[in-house]
């Protein structure tokens, strides 16, 4: 069923964005490192698939959980890949808290509020509906997700060592972010309020919806899954990030000598 051609939006304008990013990347970040290029391509793949694949189509007012997948890609996965694709500026000597920029606390606060806040903000019922129905608001929403994602991940995976949080603080940052999105996820999962009313009365132009509903994906179940998606996968992603932070912490012996490829990539 996912192969139904109508579900694929091959002419999506997202390709322009992808192309633009590619050009900018190749112009600005020479010489290209293969590992970083892979991160970039992965990011672009996720970005394009968020709109081109059925996820993009179904997110457009049909299925709430598809819409949630799209959000997660835009807010968490794509920005993360993009940041990882940037070459890192290594400090000269071993990192130490005195090297950090003084505004780091502020950057981190903004990043946290941006990343967690974006989710909470766009799921106020009226905004959720509006952004799904109106193209420009939707565009605004998706851009804001991407930006919020970038500033959220910046203190963890940003290219400048000086603006990265010390790993233990980073763990706290991610842990609390996990609590933040868990709460929203729990709310969406268990509440009887319809969080995003458009999805309760979709216009079923292709007749797939009837099929899906027959398979058990009623709007209530759909919201259920959407909430769980908002809740568990981000926490798992954060857990992965926490593990990488801890690994970085335990191996932070010295920075001036050769570091392993893995450490260089993260």
């Amino acid at each position: 069923m996912i192969w139904t051609p109508e579900l694929w939006h091959w002419m999506s304008p997202v390709w322009w964005v992808v192309g633009l990013i590619l050009v900018v990347y190749f112009v600005m970040f020479r010489p290209i490192q293969p590992a970083r290029l892979i991160a970039l391509l992965l990011g672009l793949l996720f970005l394009s698939m968020a709109y081109v694949s059925p996820v993009g189509y179904l997110a457009d007012g049909f299925i709430f959980s598809a819409h949630m997948v799209q959000h997660l890609l835009m807010l968490l996965v794509v920005p993360l890949c993009l940041l990882l694709s940037l070459p890192r500026k290594q400090p000269k000597r071993a990192a130490d808290s005195s090297d950090k920029v003084p505004a780091l606390k502020l950057i981190a606060t903004i990043g946290w509020i941006g990343g967690v806040g974006a989710m909470w903000f766009w799921h106020v019922p009226s905004l959720c509906t509006l952004s799904t129905e109106t193209f420009t608001v939707g565009l605004l929403r998706d851009t804001s997700f991407l930006l919020a994602g970038l500033i959220f991940w910046w203190p963890i995976y940003g290219p400048l060592e000086r603006t990265r949080l010390e790993p233990p603080v980073g763990v706290l940052y991610l842990f609390t972010a996990c609590l933040g999105c868990s709460l929203l996820g729990i709310y969406i999962t268990f509440t009887s309020t319809v969080v995003c009313p458009v999805f309760a009365t979709p216009a079923d132009s292709l007749g797939i919806l009837a099929q899906l509903q027959a398979a058990g994906l009623t709007p209530a179940v759909d919201q259920n899954i959407g909430g769980l998606l908002m809740w568990i996968p981000p926490c798992m992603l954060y857990t992965g990030a926490i593990i990488s932070l801890l690994a970085r912490w335990y191996t932070s012996v010295d920075h001036d000598h050769s570091t392993t490829t893995a450490a260089r990539l993260t």
């Binding site: 309020t193 179940v221 012996v253």
Partner: protein
């Protein structure tokens, strides 16, 4: 805090000197003795349970009595044995391991300890009131609500747990602050012995896991005493909410127990294999990850409630995930054993038995993670077998390992190894007899928490074996007690380092002097004592570990943050309950709601008042740092006044509501509203008191720029109270999320 004056100077051994002691080692010992005492109480209850179940259709105890026994047994073992004994070890060992003189806040430490016996007395006093709690250790609603449990047993249970919970949190905050702020020079966080690191993680977990319980307890108490109906479905409440809140606490709580045993075996196994642990950073890191993950799996205790297919699937998946970091640790320990020159001391035997039995318990746990299996087996003896394999076969065994391992350090004398091995084998047999057969009973369908059973084929025999096993464990415990009593008098003198241990506690005398160390070895790796004793094989020559950068934040600020995080979780759960009960008030709007009862603009003004107090506080703090004491006092007084004005506004609001007949038992809106805002008001009041103390201290000249971290710590709290109010205001008054 690192250089505070010794709080006690004279060594004395009278009873009174123990009661007044603030020395971390004595407090640690008192925790352990308290736990031992309650181990006997809880163990006695268990023996009565097993005596009742030894034969079919027994009527040795009444059904009522039986319910009280298993309720008190569970509650006692969790809160009065497990929690204190690990806090005790943590208290005694962690400061020694990190080269500190004492914990960060010795007096707070003593206070936290004394909360526990107080809570324990409250719990057991219920017996004398004629009704011990009997709703199970998780007191499921609606059984625990007034209509079904009208006697005060449940009330004692609630208050006892709340008191003990507060004691545990403050004790844990102390450990957190100690580890962060009191490490000896050279001891970077990444060099801490695994015991210290994992106990640090355990303390963090306590700080965030007790608050959900406290929220639930507060709400249940309000139900029972003030007539609200949070958990009474008959009056619109939600009994499943209790289960959610309880298990949000309850599942992490099992890791509050599991982490210390990981911590113990991570010390015992390397020392008796004469090797460093295999994969230090993995063991350390996965313990941190467990803290996080343990928060995402609670609903696996609720598969049978009917949460829906998708929640079940997701929770099954996370439950399997959390088994990963635990499972791989097993490989770390086994790999440490591999190729080591193993010394089978009693401590080591217990550690190895821990490994095996914990794996069995873990495997049955993973079975439960498969939802259909759980549906079949939940509430049978299979569950009882599962959690006793982890709690007894895993945790109690590791506890015995710790006892044999650290007894020489604590008392200066060795425990007798022959008696130790005797005890070990009695326990292995007794334990597996008791709980091994319960797997089969569970599979045969024997429900848990029944006081009598018919003689179905095999049930009698298996139950009898189980009861005999319990007797064996009791005998084994007596052997340990005898061993301790004898060794205290006649045991071999231990010396500083009888096991050739690797970590700092073994570099000082046994027992350690009041200030712990005469001199510390240089800390350049994870095994400083090994390095000192084997200079040519020193760890730092082969493996580099991150250097200590010497940063130690002020302990009062660290503890203020820990406290605030704990309180934040408390409020989050209260707010969750508000949202749960008010999200579709349109349909069953009976009586007042937020939109009909509240005067939003007026409260908006008081909100601004409260928020501006954060600003004045901030200015006051600046003045203090610049030593402008006059301006400081003025701005501080302003802050206090603004706080009082806010409270005044709240009183105004409350009187208005009450005179309209809107009281806490009117409907669920009123209950949640008063609960949330009432607790917030209490916190503001507490803040005002703290600020007033600061003002008095300032006017007496005790508060100066040097002490500004103390003031900053109060500030963390004060700003926190404001942030909570922002959340309260937007959810309750502005109706966000509805």
């Amino acid at each position: 805090m690192l250089n505070h004056d010794p709080v006690e100077t004279r060594e004395s051994w009278g009873l009174f000197s123990w009661i007044c002691s603030v020395d971390h080692k004595r407090i640690g010992i008192m925790y352990m003795m308290l736990a031992t005492f309650f181990l006997f109480v809880g163990g006695f209850e268990a023996l009565l349970i097993r005596a009742q179940l030894a034969i079919p259709m027994n009527d040795f105890v009444s059904p009522k009595m039986y319910n009280q026994l298993f309720t008190l047994h569970g509650t006692t073992m969790i809160f009065l044995v497990g929690m204190p004994v690990f806090t005790g070890f943590s208290n005694f060992i962690v400061p020694l391991m990190i080269g500190a003189k004492d914990v960060a806040f010795p007096r707070l430490n003593a206070l936290s300890f004394w909360m526990l016996p107080f809570g324990g007395v409250l719990l057991y006093f219920s017996f004398f009131s004629g009704s011990a709690p009997d709703a199970g250790w998780f007191s499921y609603a609606p059984l625990s609500t007034k209509p079904f449990s009208s006697l005060p047993g449940v009330d004692y249970w609630i208050i006892g747990l709340a008191v003990m919970g507060i004691g545990s949190v403050s004790g844990a905050i102390n450990i957190v602050a100690t580890v962060i702020c009191c490490r000896a020079p050279g001891m970077s966080m990444q060099r801490m012995p695994l015991f210290a690191w994992i106990m640090f993680m355990q303390a963090v977990l306590i700080v965030i896991t007790i608050p959900p319980l406290n929220s639930a307890l507060a709400m249940l108490l309000i139900d029972r005493w003030l007539g609200a109906a949070f958990f009474e479905p008959a009056r619109g409440g939600n009994a499943v909410l209790w289960q959610h809140f309880f298990w949000i606490f309850g599942h992490p709580e099992v890791y509050v127990f599991a982490l210390p045993s990981f911590a113990i075996v991570s010390e015992v196994i390397p020392v008796f294999s004469r090797k460093p642990i295999y994969g230090y950073s993995f063991v350390a890191g996965s313990s941190a990850v467990i803290v996080l993950l343990s928060y995402t799996v609670w609903a696996h205790h609720m598969f049978a409630v009917g949460l829906g297919m998708w929640p079940d699937i997701f929770f099954a998946a996370t439950t399997m995930l959390i088994a990963l970091p635990t499972g791989v640790k097993i490989f770390n320990w086994t790999a440490t054993l591999w190729g080591g020159s193993i010394q089978l001391t009693t401590a080591m035997l217990f550690a190895i038995a821990f490994l095996i039995q914990f794996v069995i318990g873990g495997l049955t746990g993973i079975m439960f993670a498969a939802v259909p299996v759980d549906w079949q087996l939940t509430d049978t003896y299979f569950v009882v077998a599962h959690f006793h394999y982890v709690l007894v076969g895993g945790i109690v065994f590791s506890l015995f390992a710790a006892t044999y391992y650290w007894f020489p350090k604590i008392t200066g004398r060795m425990l007798n190894e022959r008696l130790g091995k005797f005890q070990f084998w009695i326990w292995v047999v007794g334990f597996n007899a008791t709980f091994g057969v319960q797997h089969f009973l569970g599979l045969m369908g024997m429900p848990r928490r029944i006081y009598q059973y018919d003689d179905y084929p095999g049930w009698y025999l298996l139950n009898l074996i189980s009861s005999i096993g319990a007797g064996l464990m009791a005998i084994g415990t007596l052997v340990l007690v005898w061993n301790i009593v004898r060794s205290l008098r006649h045991g071999t003198v231990a010396g500083r380092n009888p096991w050739k241990g690797f970590t700092l506690e073994w570099s000082t005398t046994s027992p350690p002097p009041l200030e712990n160390f005469d001199e510390l070895p240089e800390i350049r790796s994870r095994r400083p004592v090994w390095d000192r004793d084997n200079p040519e094989l020193a760890d730092w020559k082969t493996e580099k570990t991150p250097e200590d950068k010497g940063y130690r934040p002020p302990a009062c600020k660290v503890s203020a943050w820990a406290f605030v995080i704990s309180e934040a979780i408390f409020f989050i759960l209260l707010l969750v309950s508000y949202v749960v009960f008010n999200s579709n008030s349109g349909e069953n709007a009976e009586g007042p709601t937020a939109s009909t009862a509240l005067d939003v603009p007026r409260t908006g003004v008081f909100t601004l008042v409260l928020l501006s107090s954060s600003l004045t506080f901030w200015i006051a703090e600046h003045c203090l740092r610049r030593q402008k004491m006059g301006a400081f006092k003025i701005w501080l007084s302003f802050t206090i006044l603004l706080g009082c004005a806010f409270i005044g506004g709240q009183i105004w609001e409350y009187t208005g509501l009450i005179s309209d007949g809107i009281t806490i038992n009117r409907n669920l809106f009123a209950s949640t509203f008063f609960t949330v805002t009432g607790f917030h008001g209490l916190h503001v009041t507490g803040g005002i008191i703290a600020l007033s103390i600061m003002l008095i201290m300032a006017s007496r000249g005790y508060l100066n720029a040097k002490r500004s971290p103390v003031f900053a710590a109060v500030g963390v709290y004060w700003h926190f109270v404001d942030v909570v109010w922002i959340a309260v205001f937007s959810i309750i008054y502005l109706g966000y999320l509805q």
